[in-house]
Symmetry: C2
Amino acid sequence: MQSDNPTAAILLIGDEILSGRTRDLNAHHLAGILNGIGIDLREIRVVADDHGAIVAALSALDKAIGGAWDMVFTSGGIGPTHDDITADAVADAYGTSIEINPEARRMMEERWSRLGTEITPSRLRMARIPVGATLIENAESAAPGFSIGGAHVMAGVPSVFRSMVEALIPRLNPGRPPVSLTIRVDRPESEIAEGLRAVAADFPDLSLGSYPFREDGGFGTNLVLRGLDEARVEQAAAALRNRLSL
Amino acid sequence: MQSDNPTAAILLIGDEILSGRTRDLNAHHLAGILNGIGIDLREIRVVADDHGAIVAALSALDKAIGGAWDMVFTSGGIGPTHDDITADAVADAYGTSIEINPEARRMMEERWSRLGTEITPSRLRMARIPVGATLIENAESAAPGFSIGGAHVMAGVPSVFRSMVEALIPRLNPGRPPVSLTIRVDRPESEIAEGLRAVAADFPDLSLGSYPFREDGGFGTNLVLRGLDEARVEQAAAALRNRLSL
């Protein structure tokens, strides 16, 4: 699909996904939102809770430090525990230091005093933020995420991740949302491949995806047309229906 | 976690995951299986149905062509349609050509003649396999996957992917499966962080993960201990229970 939309990557930091213990929810949630606001998600990576792996992935993904895409959204590895090494890795990747952020500390202390929660050194670790970052509010549990360079660093717990995404989205520079149209065909992919290839060649500005499925023992195919111009998508859909005698 | 186990990556090829249309099933399925046979999954990537993106990802991931890990399992982008460009990209990445594979053709024709399915040029495209690859059988729909270098190239349709994984697993060189033990603590992560950090420092050969959750309005934490030696995992669990007065 031809587009001048901003590009993005998602970086999930989490041994629990790599071990098969947890099935990703956060990348799927954010992918749908980005698609809806015209930010072109081009890559997702999952790496271990490992300093070097996080630094390398950020460097490869964020244009601000020599990587490939305009923005990177990270999930996981921030919080109070020993294996929450993301903040330190981010500071390294962006060549800055890390210290207790007074505003983050204030947000967390305000919540803790309201809830009668004791302030401990472990809890205060969650206010350690790379110098120069701006905070991403967290209505769910107070400890904020943060943005630095082209990266937006968020928590892995799904409810907290969603709360941070909600705070962050209005601040992003959106693009033009794609129009998408799905045509269901109750024939196997191989029967419609030639027609599809011909229409795809006539509409190089669109993306035409073909997603085979199996239902009640038979094979079918969902054809998904995507593009930035609604009229073009409708034209391609008409051409496809014509070609496939639908 | 210290380990000499073979390492692996999963590469998902799929616009439909990046657009938020589909939530991944295949990486999650395979991650659990790899963990169970001692193959250390170190990275997952999702890239678009794009020739350059696929070649770049394979080159970065497969040690056989200069990448980082011992094996790469790919899912998606093989099949009869215009956007199924994986096989060509794989041939390029491994410096080989692509042609109709006689054995693949035979497997498919055998099934088609049994089912009375017509043999068309579109269908025969599914027998295009990089020269030098070995086939991965597909009990579900006949069109095979294939292995080349350290890569195992499989379909994206979950039922077909699973069938290929089943055929492939007995051929892999397994490692020593990790032992894992989960301790549920009904306290927020920040309250147990110090104890956890101390135990982690005493057991550098293990991986200690801390996974906060929210249930019935309260916060809790699952502590996951993983290692190759069961006795060490039990020792660390005892030390943790002691530290946290469980």
